[in-house]
Symmetry: D2
Subunit: 310 residues, 4 copies
């Protein structure tokens, strides 16, 4: 497999997967799922919107849920380091032929809307309002104790194009899956663990899941117990078990009341140095769930983007 | 459901599920499974037999594996408190019309062979040789860190007869499952947690599983990882997840190289006082695996007893 | 060390350490400590009394806290199996020269007050009202998730007399500590783990601590975090660490707002069979806290009994 | 407290704390400590040197131990991103008046020796030989399961100078402690968690500790148990408990056979965005060990650098 040459010193600094903007049909039901069960914290809320963050996040929100008639995903959010990087990002996307727009977004600094080769609606900003990290409030840790947003997975037939484009912006390929000689999956990262964004080969662009990090393995089991209380065990989709790629991470996949999928995982390896080659996995030898076969719905159910004009 | 009257002061004292005697086809493969992966300790071994105990057991063995051409279970072992209790047990089984025999068993005191209404081949003794509990040897804790044998599950169409007979010997019913007005499952205990022996309604008598207690939830996940190493993930049958009955215990079911099933679980509630009624569960509302549906093989695969003359 | 001959078939059946009745100066502060931080459940409360139980206890209470001007311990509670055992217990204590009295206690069946050679005020009953075990309510597990009362430690110069008397009632000696040729500490049990009651050699009779079992090691660390929130870290007295005796159990000692000491521990070995000799430890080689030296207050602070007439 | 202006786009990219080069008196004893107990992996060894890495590190070594007559620290190692960054680093240190030297180091690419305002002997490289990350080998996880080197703590009276100099190279200040109006401690980071290097105000330059990340809280308790086995509990210096700064991280401090101190911790928050102000703590309100007071030796014992010419 011919891989693109890594770009160690990109023209602008995207720093990390930052936030997701989604549509839900019932804010109270969403709040019960994300706050009571997953452990996220409400930074703000009004009649139409919930702004949530993880227990150890200082940023105002990593998940924005908007009231709507149909569930969908509006935006995948990323951070750049500085305001200058934001302008350079705008130039980069425009030069690549993608529409760009400056928008006002509550609690965020200047915000850029654009899209990528897969058609993923993207949102970049350099700053958000700052909220308190809650590590000094052990009494507020509950449920799965979701700590911070970690990454997104997008399904798209344009896996190769996505790899090349994100590589050009300094994303590093940590692992990838090959099937019948073609790229089936690429794990791309900026923040030094295996992924900020993942592209998998299926009809798209659609969102497969976003992932939050939790403290320890027992939190995965505990949150499953919480779903069984109240007969919500149908929302526990896959796990707790262990992936092969990336990095044999332990995982649990849950479905929110609108069908949005969230992965919880306790830890990942770090990857910062440049001398290491990306790990290649061959499907179908590649075991997705370790000792559990994923259900068909985990493969097939994905969420549409609203695809509003950028 | 009419339940038998509990017998709080039985004529003799059976104290606990004690040990299992099984046949396996390859002692080295069994040792790798039970010692390297589950964490059991070898008390003794020769060319034909492995005597194993849990890390915190003082008894010489809770699992005896004998080399044979075909896998099977020879005996389900229980303890009585004293030698007097052993003689009284012999009289009780003989008076109930079951064959009894006194046999010599290595590392055990005087040993009684008999059977029960389901046809389960039983073995009773009051004493065994004493081995060191390994709690002072944290360096020998590894794999699933199996601590001690806890209980057996027998499948038999004679669930009601089994309940009545074991009840007459002072076993206490902790929980039971009813299906279409009939007893589907009974959990019977002597040692103060929910079960020493369980009878479930299916063709039998055959053994469904024996169960070992492990220290904590993370040991269930860790041992699954160990099975994935070396492509043995097919032996991880069901879990980690959480039962409804008894007591919503967390569990993991594994299959040894001969197909013998072992359950691992981290903890159970205690039940000693007499004022509490047994818990009744109604099938099919009863959820076996919490958030996971058990695979068909977990329901259907069971192990024959050798049914050698008692 | 000459040890008394075990009594395997005592005349009456004491089954387990059951409950503690203590005096506190502020019920709201006690409730915050025992319920919000340790995880105990309120079975009932009025202006003068709190009745608490562990998350997986079916008995109405394992801790009764009464409003008073001075903190003290009123009674150490034990269970007998049946009402007949209660009458036989009364005869046993009366025959040994101890005062006995039948008293009415809310939520308990017939209740016997008496005392032992150390002067410990004791309370026995066969039954209590039944409450729901909360294992099906994972959403109510919080704080240290205290599951059930396990044992008491009494300090008294009469360690030998206590051993002999409790041994005569069928308590089994699991472990003991010898210092300069004398019994320094005895661990006595009825329910099959290392202890229901412990006697240690110091001025007494006074209560050193009661102990509750918690699910896993991480609960010990989590509850310490909760004490640090709100500047209560001074109530974390000793641990988390690991004892030598009994059974190298992990532990954490906390002090409630009135100075009552509570031990939390995640697990203990089981001891039911009769062939095992009690474990002898020699002080001072014996390491109390594994890798931590206990603070002086852990040795010296103990709580007076009210010593009301039995 | 006037803090230096952060440098978001430094002239060259230091990426992370990388490795430590220390002197020990007995390689076998060191190997027992670091490999058998902490869980590190031997990448290579000869009669005079041990090269060790964490279980999930791909770099050849994060700890190099050299046989010597006296224990000491030779070098604190950091990574830069590319070979170009290495040349730019050399220019930066030379321009600041520090001696620089290019040296050959086994298993490392081109290596720069220099020093900082505190006098810390530093070593920079862009690449090392690549070894296998062992996440696919759950069977090799044992002891504390140390995953990866995380950070160093240097004691020096030149805390302010160190802050200013490291800030100029793009290190970000995450937290700091003020005492009597002076900087007592600064936590500086490059890799997005609270620290790669910490400077604390005491006689120096000397090394206080290096820190490795472990998977979960229970690994801290388990490794303490391992030290108690074999009467090594004296090497468990402080913890397991929880720091206040940075980020209320759980910790355990151990001393190796030569007195080198190693911290183990299970997790830290992430800090990447620029809008968050450094956290200020005020000594003495600042609680170092949460609920445990650190022993004097934890404050006072530190390790000399060999201070060989750079």
């Amino acid at each position: 497999m011919q891989l693109p040459t890594p770009v160690y010193k990109p023209d602008f600094m995207i720093t990390r997967a930052s936030h997701l903007v989604s549509r839900v049909r019932n804010l109270a039901a969403s709040k019960a799922f994300y706050c009571d069960l997953l452990g996220l914290v409400v930074s703000d809320e009004d009649d139409n919107t919930l702004w949530l963050r993880g227990l150890e996040e200082a940023c105002h929100h990593s998940l924005v849920l908007k009231l709507a008639d149909e569930p969908a995903v509006e935006r995948v959010g990323m951070r750049v380091l500085t305001e200058d990087d934001l302008d350079l990002a705008e130039q980069h996307f425009a030069a690549a032929g993608f529409p760009t727009a400056w928008v006002e977004v509550p609690y965020q600094g200047r915000t850029l809307h654009t899209t990528d080769p897969a058609g993923t609606p993207l949102e970049f900003c350099a700053t958000m309002d700052v909220c308190e990290r809650l590590f000094a409030h052990a009494d507020r840790y509950h449920g799965a104790c979701a700590l911070r947003l970690d990454h997104f997975q997008i399904v798209t037939p344009k896996v190769r194009e996505s790899l090349d484009f994100y590589n050009s912006m300094g994303f590093r390929l940590s692992e990838y899956v090959v099937k019948d000689g073609n790229l089936e999956m690429v794990f791309l990262q900026r923040k030094g663990n295996p992924h900020d964004i993942v592209f998998a080969n299926r009809e798209g662009p659609r969102l497969h899941h976003c992932a939050y990090q939790v403290p320890e393995t027992h939190h995965l089991m505990h949150v499953c117990d919480l779903f069984v209380v109240g007969d919500k065990e149908g929302q526990v989709e896959f796990g707790p078990a262990r992936h092969f790629s990336p990095g044999l991470a332990r995982f649990l996949y849950l479905r929110d009341p609108d069908g949005h999928r969230v992965e919880l995982f306790p830890s990942h390896y770090h990857t910062i140095d440049i001398e290491e080659e990306p790990v290649e996995w061959e499907a179908p030898g590649f075991k997705v769930g370790g000792w559990i076969v994923p259900p068909d719905k985990w493969w097939n159910d994905t969420m549409a983007f609203t695809q509003t004009a950028s």
